[in-house]
């Protein structure tokens, strides 16, 4: 197991390294002249040269790349072209907001999706199953900004039970912050419930139809005990990977929800940075999201290998 963890960690580091190369390539090599890209085609050549010098983008690529790598290790990604603030500070603030939203959304979606999926599987083909499957499908098919607007309209304006904007007063407790983040989280629940429920349902149906479940039934077990000891563990293995992949999105891909609910999150920061060609912010942000994605996948793989002896023992061999 230890060997497996180390090997997976090493792989994650390699992937991260590749990610830095890609980020660097996109942000520095593709625009050719960074200052020209920022200042536009009509800026005088001197200004462009000066800006390049100021940004360090006139230096050889290798030097620039080294700077990026050094930045990763020292947590210093320079300053934003746009605001002049240190990038680390900018990312830190937005990441904390994004994390709060993502975690709350996960805490709501995963149990709901898993329970919903299992419930649907147990009533396969019957009304409850159809309702859960259809709702899930509809939820994932409708874009986030539509569901968000709908929620604002119903919960915020008509019923007036939840705050419409996720801007909590300075110094609020965790509870208050969660209260403010509930509506955007619900929008995310609507979107991601379907994915998770579908995986959990498929996994449970597969496990219910498996021969080992029949073996357990033939041992004279009650259905509840069969479910507990034989079905669930096998049923939820595929769901774990899906949750991990979604975690990456939840941290950095939530532009619409962040804009609508006015969450000062990572997604919005990145889009603004991209529009303003604020390369230090952009590359640092992409790397942070990549890291989160990688950590989530790593945790999922470890959990799966812990639950599935086939993988665990093969990894030890």
């Amino acid at each position: 197991m230890v060997v497996y963890v180390l090997r997976r960690l090493a792989l994650a580091v390699v992937t991260l390294f590749l990610l830095t190369l890609i980020v660097f390539a996109i942000s520095n090599v593709l625009p050719q002249d960074v200052a020209r890209a920022i200042l536009g085609p009509f800026a005088p050549a001197e200004s462009v040269a000066q800006l390049n010098k100021q940004l360090g983008t006139d230096q050889p690529l290798l030097v620039q790349y080294w700077r990026l790598l050094k930045g990763i290790i020292t947590f210093d990604f320079g300053t934003s072209y746009q605001s002049g603030q240190p990038v680390t500070e900018l990312i830190g603030q937005t990441l904390s907001n994004s994390a709060k939203l993502a975690i709350l959304a996960l805490l709501l979606t995963v149990p709901l999706g898993v329970v919903g999926g299992i419930a649907a599987a147990l009533r396969k083909g019957r009304l409850a199953d159809r309702v859960i499957v259809t709702l899930g499908l509809a939820g994932s098919a409708i874009p986030e900004f539509v569901t968000s607007t709908f929620l604002i309209f119903v919960l915020g304006l008509k019923l007036n039970v939840l705050p419409v904007l996720a801007t909590w007063p300075e110094g609020s407790s965790i509870g208050t912050q969660a209260y403010y983040l509930l509506m955007p989280s619900l929008a995310l629940v609507l979107v991601y419930f379907g994915y998770i429920a579908r995986m959990a349902r498929a996994g449970t149906i597969g496990a219910l139809e498996a021969d080992y479940t029949r073996t357990a039934t033939m041992k004279g077990m009650t259905r509840a005990k069969v479910l507990r000891t034989h079905v669930l563990r096998n049923a939820l293995l595929p769901t774990i990977s899906v949750v991990a992949t979604q975690t990456g999105y939840l941290f950095g891909g939530l532009l619409a929800v962040e804009v609508i609910f006015n969450v000062n999150g990572l997604g919005r920061l990145l889009v603004t940075a991209a529009k303003a060609k604020d390369l230090p912010v952009l590359s640092a942000g992409v790397l942070v999201i990549g890291t989160i994605y990688m950590v989530a996948t790593l945790l999922a793989d470890l959990l799966i290998s812990y639950l599935n002896p086939r993988i665990r023992l093969a990894a030890n061999a």
Binding site: T215, T217, R233, R310
Partner: protein, 705 residues
């Protein structure tokens, strides 16, 4: 039930008693029988419409008796068993009749009563033991669970699990308890499943194809185990198998099922030696038996197809495929006719014309001449072929110094347990598996590259393959026409009108008709799909066709048709086959020569007749004696114990010595590798025991048996 009556249409002119209609359940007491199935009718809901699957199945299994259900896939064997265990899928329902286990009607009881029956009275063993065990739980926990369900404490359950594993003769039961299912071989997994099934000391043990998918040697061990456990526990057994030999080995009585009905029933020996229903006759004649060879006779087939499920079959269910059917068979349901003097219902057939069954003509005899010229140059020669896999810094020797040749028009059968290297050898010939440096695969005197990609187009065209499973071998999205046309154009470069002409010739060759061309594979039956796969292989006029278990996934009647087709194609096209099968009867039918592999080494190779007649290599001897014969052949006593050793650490000396029942006292087998030497003309063997001594030993055995 029907009263006994004299069949008015048949005069009592023979010496046999007049046909007497009987009650198939006469003499069975529902209250005491281990299993009593009475007029069971089961429907499956398909798109909301109930489709009849069982059409009044009646039989009973007495306490301690073993009863077999045979028949081809789709005849309702498993559905019968599952109905009796309350395990029908959601869309299945019992429409009429009942099934009683130990006197309790399973079809009408509450789910908690059903649980009690499963807990105390009945157990089940399935076809795929790997799937029957939970992959995420340790063996010890899974076996112990069966005992905790019966009320044992945790510690007690573990002790009893250990005992249960010892009882099924698993080696190192303590160690096995700490392992997970995927760490055990198929044979060991099946022993674990049997151990769990016996936990509740069941009155009825249902075995659903328990040895299908296991090697013949492992199958023999499992069957031995089932037999001895049955004697110990006194459990009644319901055995479902498509392998008639397995049924004959284990069962006292047998019911032959067709289209949801038991068409013939009786003592196993009587039914198999003297079948009385046209279907049973057909089923038995499909098998290559009594050493039948492709040059001597064609195999019988059962023309036509099993009726679709839910089809209305008011009279005889077999009428559309019956060679002796008359108008009467289409108007009146056949009576249940007692056979022989016994009118108790123990032996019956559902047929109007049991007196005409003897008239069913067998398939044509062939002249027995061997068209393959013996003394010509081999078309394919393997010289010193080695294949080594590298895994986790270990070397696994899949093939070790294999020397073989294949002559034009001949079939070389490859035989051996799983892991013996048969498939690796086939892949090496095809160029899918790169052999080690120094290995030579020579086609027509020209050495071939190890990889198909590097071989010339002509060599690629010359060597083709037919896979075991046509479902996965054919592209599901394409029509038969597309599949075959593409093979034609890719292999021969022919296009346009000429290709259409060739396509027509090709489908004629594999006995398909033009109307099959526009169908997709899923619209075809298993046998037709395999014909398409064979057609694909033959599209480029190959000289060598590798057949990797081509009939293993097929029913025996379909298997017979495919074997006939392969034999015909070979006779017409002079193609050579490398034929892999675990079914020795099938290998014997089609092969001219046979190579026996063990741990990647050739143990014996020679003319099929010599290899089968003996004297054999001790391994070949063991393989042959492991096969359960439908003819109830003399019970030989060669059994291989233990597992096939790991190819990563093969035993020193003769690799077979760890399991060899004839290992020499002198210790030479443990230390020296026996060379593969010619013991008779064209017959090579790798064994330290001299041929004459083997002959003596093996003859003595046969006399005793």
């Amino acid at each position: 039930m029907t009263d006994p009556m004299i069949d008015p249409l048949h005069d009592n002119d023979s010496a046999a008693a007049a046909p007497v209609a009987v009650d198939p359940l006469a003499g069975s007491d529902p209250a005491t029988a281990a299993l009593h199935v009475e007029n069971l009718e089961v429907d499956f809901l398909v798109r909301g419409i109930p489709r009849r699957v069982l059409r009044g199945v009646s039989f009973s299994v007495r306490p301690g008796e073993s009863f077999g259900l045979v028949g081809e896939s789709g005849c309702g064997k498993s559905t019968t068993a599952y109905s009796a265990l309350g395990l029908l899928p959601d869309n299945g329902r019992v429409a009429a009749g009942r099934a009683l286990i130990a006197g309790k009607d399973v079809t009408s009881m509450s789910s908690s009563d059903l649980r009690q029956v499963r807990l105390n009275d009945v157990s089940m063993v399935y076809q795929d033991p790997g799937a029957a065990l939970n992959p995420t739980l340790k063996i010890g926990m899974q076996v112990a669970e069966a005992f905790t369900m019966l009320g044992a404490s945790k510690a007690e359950a573990r002790d009893r699990a250990f005992e249960a594993l010892r009882r099924v003769r698993i080696s190192d039961p303590r160690g096995v308890m700490e392992r997970y299912p995927h760490q055990l071989s198929g044979g060991m997994q099946q022993r674990v499943v049997i151990a769990m099934a016996l936990a509740n000391d069941p009155k009825l043990l249902v075995l659903d194809e328990p040895t299908t998918g296991l090697d013949a040697t492992v199958e023999a061990e499992v069957l031995d185990l089932v037999e001895s456990l049955r004697e110990d526990t006194g459990a009644a057994v319901l055995l479902i198998a498509h392998n008639l030999g397995v049924i004959r080995r284990i069962c006292d009585r047998v019911g032959v099922m067709y289209a949801g009905k038991v068409v013939e029933q009786g003592r196993a020996a009587e039914v198999f030696d003297n079948p009385s229903h046209p279907y049973t006759v057909g089923l038995l004649r499909c098998l290559p038996r009594h050493g039948a060879r492709k040059n001597d006779r064609r195999l019988d087939t059962i023309p036509g197809f099993l009726p679709q499920i839910g089809e209305s079959l008011p009279t005889c269910v077999f009428v559309d495929r019956c060679p002796i059917a008359t108008d009467l068979c289409r108007t009146d349901a056949p009576p249940v006719v007692a056979l022989g003097a016994d009118t108790s219902g123990a032996r019956f057939a559902r047929c109007h014309h049991i007196d005409k069954v003897a008239e069913i003509a067998p398939a044509g005899l062939l002249d027995g001449t061997d068209p393959g010229a013996r003394e010509v140059e081999p078309i394919l020669r393997l010289e010193g072929v080695n294949v080594t896999f590298h895994q986790n810094r270990r070397s696994i020797h899949a093939l070790v110094d294999v020397n073989l040749d294949l002559r034009p028009g001949e079939t070389l059968g490859l035989v051996g347990e799983s892991g013996s290297g048969k498939t690796t050898l086939a892949k090496t010939i095809l160029g899918i598996q790169q052999p080690d440096a120094g290995s030579r695969v020579v086609l027509d005197g020209v050495p071939l590259e190890g990889s198909t990609r590097k071989r010339p187009q002509d060599a690629r065209r010359s060597i083709q393959i037919v896979f075991q499973n046509p479902d996965s071998a054919l592209n599901r999205a394409q029509s038969v026409r597309a599949i075959l046309s593409r093979a034609l154009s890719k292999l021969t470069g022919i296009t346009g009108n000429e290709a259409d002409d060739r396509l027509e010739v090709l489908i004629n060759h594999v006995r398909l008709t033009p109307r099959h061309l526009d169908l997709k594979p899923r619209q075809l039956s298993g046998g037709l799909k395999q014909r398409v796969a064979i057609g694909r292989a033959f599209a480029g006029d190959p000289r060598i066709v590798v057949c990797d278990e081509p009939t293993s996934a097929l029913d025996v009647s379909v298997q017979a048709a495919i074997l006939n087709l392969l034999a015909d194609l070979q006779r017409d096209e002079q193609s050579s086959y490398v034929f892999i099968s675990h079914d020795l009867g099938v290998v014997r039918y089609l092969s001219d020569r046979i190579a026996v592999l063990y741990l990647g080494r050739i143990m014996e190779v020679g003319p099929a007749a010599d290899v089968f007649a003996g004297p054999h290599h001790p391994y070949t001897e063991a393989l042959l004696s492991a096969v359960p014969s439908v003819d109830g052949a003399p019970e030989t006593r060669i059994r291989l114990d233990g597992e096939v050793p790991s190819a990563a650490a093969p035993p020193p000396g003769c690799v077979f010595h760890t399991r060899c029942p004839r290992r020499l006292e002198s210790g030479i087998c443990e230390t020296e590798v026996p060379p593969l030497v010619e013991v008779e003309p064209g017959h090579r063997m790798a064994c330290h025991i001299p041929l004459e001594e083997l002959r003596g030993l093996q003859a003595a055995e046969t006399v005793q048996a």
